[in-house]
């Protein structure tokens, strides 16, 4: 995007961060500025912030030179990188001095051409740097050193400080000499970053940046999510730009958690309809997470970190498990559940961590705090692993995301596969019923079915993960209990019904569990999930105190 087209009015909720950064880099004039790293989630707007900082420095003052460079992962040969870095700097430096925007976009200019240009413009400092660079053409590492120190040398020659803004800095880890990566090359940034008159503001993928020694000593400036007010303003501006009316439903707005990248894509997609209503915004969201730019961008990230298809499938099931488990999972546990060696599990988990799909804390892994990413992971799993049709996926998300009538009260439990664990669920259900004033007779029947579902989960999950996950959702007129375990062999894909174990059924009483569940609740559903198998029990239960529990049956 041309910098001149960056509109202050379209830059929402970042004015304070922008002003603070601007003030900070201007301290370079007095030799007091320090290099910093901008940290924040993917899509949160770090790149936009750098661009706006560049624009403000370029147009609003004439002392501190802005230099913005985006690392291109395709140009990491030391020779190519240093030439690109140096020529961009010289062009931007000359553009600032002459306030000539055309120079900002002089791509493809040769070093000789640049040298001639510098001479014509009377920029002797630039010619000296370029001459020195050309003399070092036989030593790529020296040439890189000259390129990285060019802002500092220009400051020494002209007295004008330089604010070096580098986006996607994490890619410089891949700098290489004749195809051989050399981690020491990154350390050449250390010196230019340490000069107080050439502060560097860098950003990129935080998971990777924080593992780079050259970045570890830098102050970290967080770029938070947009607040609700800024997010709403951004939505209104986007709608206005599309000449549309409407508004993102509040629940969806909260779901998007102030991420400008997400907001932009959802609103743009929804605006394909004139004046979209709530349903059309939700539909736009569902399409985006299933097959839109948001889904594609995350899939591209996954592919770039895990290029092998087979490994990517395993990675996807691992992410899904992490996102559907309420506790942190260790590498050893993942290895055990997915029958991987510790080394294989570590390799995949590290790639997922670096890609930004999961968080890693002291060897345990948790999901990112990003509901959109969670939905995208679910959509990918459904499509790639479970081979669900787009129609089924859409129905799933419509049901899961769009609020139905009334408010749902939800309780989640994780239970060990210990003896009589099913009683914990049954007793909890009784208490939930009491707290929410639900019909006790109906709760009693649901308890019976839940006990059977738990026994089933324990029986079929044996030897897999040692946990069962129970979720109770109480709606206005129905209660839904889902019981999930790691068992894989329980459901027939085509019918969605459980297998019939003919041998087991010969024994008295075996096979009664499912019959009993179906008898005591209104609807029983069996689902094969990315984690394992889920039994969902749905029972219509009124909220009423008038119906008394029938304690005994009188017969004979």
């Amino acid at each position: 995007m041309p910098f001149s087209s960056l509109q202050k009015k379209d830059f929402f909720g970042r004015q304070a961060e922008l002003a603070s950064l601007y003030k900070r880099v201007l301290q370079a004039d007095s030799g007091q500025a320090q290099s910093v790293v901008l940290s924040g989630r993917r899509g949160i707007g770090k790149t936009e912030l750098l661009k706006h900082l560049f624009g403000r420095l370029f147009f609003n003052q004439d002392r501190t030179v802005p230099f913005l460079y985006t690392v291109n992962p395709a140009l990491l040969s030391v020779t190519v990188f240093s030439k690109s870095y140096l020529s961009r700097f010289i062009c931007q430096r000359l553009a600032f001095e002459k306030k000539d925007q055309a120079l900002l976009y002089r791509d493809g200019i040769t070093i000789d051409g640049l040298s001639t240009l510098a001479e014509e413009m009377g920029a002797l400092w630039a010619k000296e740097i370029l001459d020195q660079y050309m003399q070092c053409s036989g030593d790529p590492v020296d040439a890189l050193r000259i390129a990285l120190l060019a802002p500092h040398r220009s400051t020494l020659s002209t007295g004008m400080p330089v604010a070096v803004l580098i986006d996607d800095f994490h890619w410089v880890k891949g700098l290489h000499l004749d195809g051989v990566p050399d981690h020491l090359l990154v350390s050449l940034f250390q010196e230019p970053m340490s000069h107080r008159k050439t502060p560097h503001v860098i950003t990129g993928n935080m998971a990777e940046l924080q593992e780079m020694a050259v970045v570890s000593g830098l102050e970290r400036i967080p770029v938070p999510s947009l607040g609700s007010e800024a997010a709403s303003s951004m939505v209104l501006a986007l709608l206005s730009a599309q000449e549309a009316e409407g508004n993102v439903p509040p629940l969806l707005l909260r779901h998007l958690a102030g991420n400008p990248y997400y907001l932009g894509h959802i609103v743009t997609r929804a605006c394909a309809k004139n004046n979209p209503d709530d349903k059309e915004f939700w539909n736009a969201y569902i399409q985006e997470i299933m097959e839109g730019t948001l889904a594609l961008s995350w899939l591209t990230v996954l592919k770039s970190y895990i290029p092998d298809l087979g490994q990517r499938r395993t990675a996807l099931t691992i992410i899904s498990k992490i996102y559907h488990t309420t506790e942190a999972l260790s590498c050893q546990r993942i290895a055990k559940v997915f029958s991987l060696t510790d080394g294989e599990a570590h390799g995949i988990l590290n790639a997922l961590y670096l890609a930004g799909f999961i968080r890693g804390e002291f060897g345990s892994f948790r999901p990112m705090d990003d509901r959109v990413l969670r939905d995208i992971v679910d959509a990918l799993s459904m499509r790639e692993i479970l081979a669900k049709s787009p129609h089924d996926m859409e129905l799933h998300f419509l049901e899961a995301l769009i609020p139905q009538k009334g408010q749902v009260v939800r309780f989640d439990m994780t239970l060990p596969m210990a003896r009589e664990a099913e009683l914990i669920v049954a007793q909890s259900l009784e208490q939930i019923g009491k707290n929410l004033n639900l019909n006790q007779d109906a709760i009693g029947q649901l308890q019976i079915a839940v006990i059977e579902a738990c026994i089933n989960a324990i029986e079929h999950g044996k030897g897999m993960d040692d946990k069962i996950y129970v979720s109770v959702a109480v709606d206005e007129d129905q209660t839904e209990v889902s019981v999930e375990s790691a068992g894989q062999e329980f459901i027939i894909q085509e019918t969605g019904e459980p297998y019939r174990d003919q041998e087991a059924e010969k024994k008295a009483g075996r096979g009664w569990g499912i019959k009993l569940m179906k008898r005591f609740v209104d609807h029983v559903r069996f689902e094969k999930t990315t984690y394992g198998t889920k039994i969902v029990l749905v029972k219509k239960i009124e909220k009423s105190a008038s119906i008394q529990k029938e304690d005994t049956a009188n017969h004979e």
Binding site: E420, L423, I448, I455, G509, R510, W512, G513, T552, A553
Partner: protein, 117 residues
């Protein structure tokens, strides 16, 4: 600590077993063993009082089935009393009710077993 306990008493020539808590495989096996002991001692009139039974699962139910079969083979009489409606439905589903007499309470069961009803 177990979620099941069993107490029993004999009145006249009738044995009353009072299970309490959760009848799963463990609870039902104890009931079966206890009933076999009483039958072995010559008691052929048994009452199971379900007042304090909170839950029954299908594994427990299947063991009940074999207990009923044992009773039938030994020409003993088995009565259930104080059953919750849902528990009765479970026994009906398993086809057990046709072999067992179900009464509202012990008094009715005693009357039946003593030939007074």
């Amino acid at each position: 600590m177990s979620n099941f306990s069993l107490s029993s008493r004999s009145e006249q020539d009738i044995t009353v077993m009072m299970p309490k808590g959760y009848i799963n495989n463990i609870g039902a096996e104890r009931l079966e063993l206890t009933s076999e002991e009483f039958i072995g001692r010559g008691s052929n009139k048994l009452v199971v009082n379900f007042t304090d039974v909170k839950f029954i699962n299908t594994i427990g139910l299947s063991i009940f089935l074999s207990m009923v079969q044992n009773m039938l083979e030994s020409n003993s009489q088995l009565c259930f009393t104080n059953m919750k409606k849902d528990h009765r439905e479970m026994f009906e589903m398993a086809g057990l009710i046709k072999h067992v007499r179900v009464f509202k309470d012990e008094k009715d069961a005693f009357n039946y077993l003593n030939g007074r009803s």
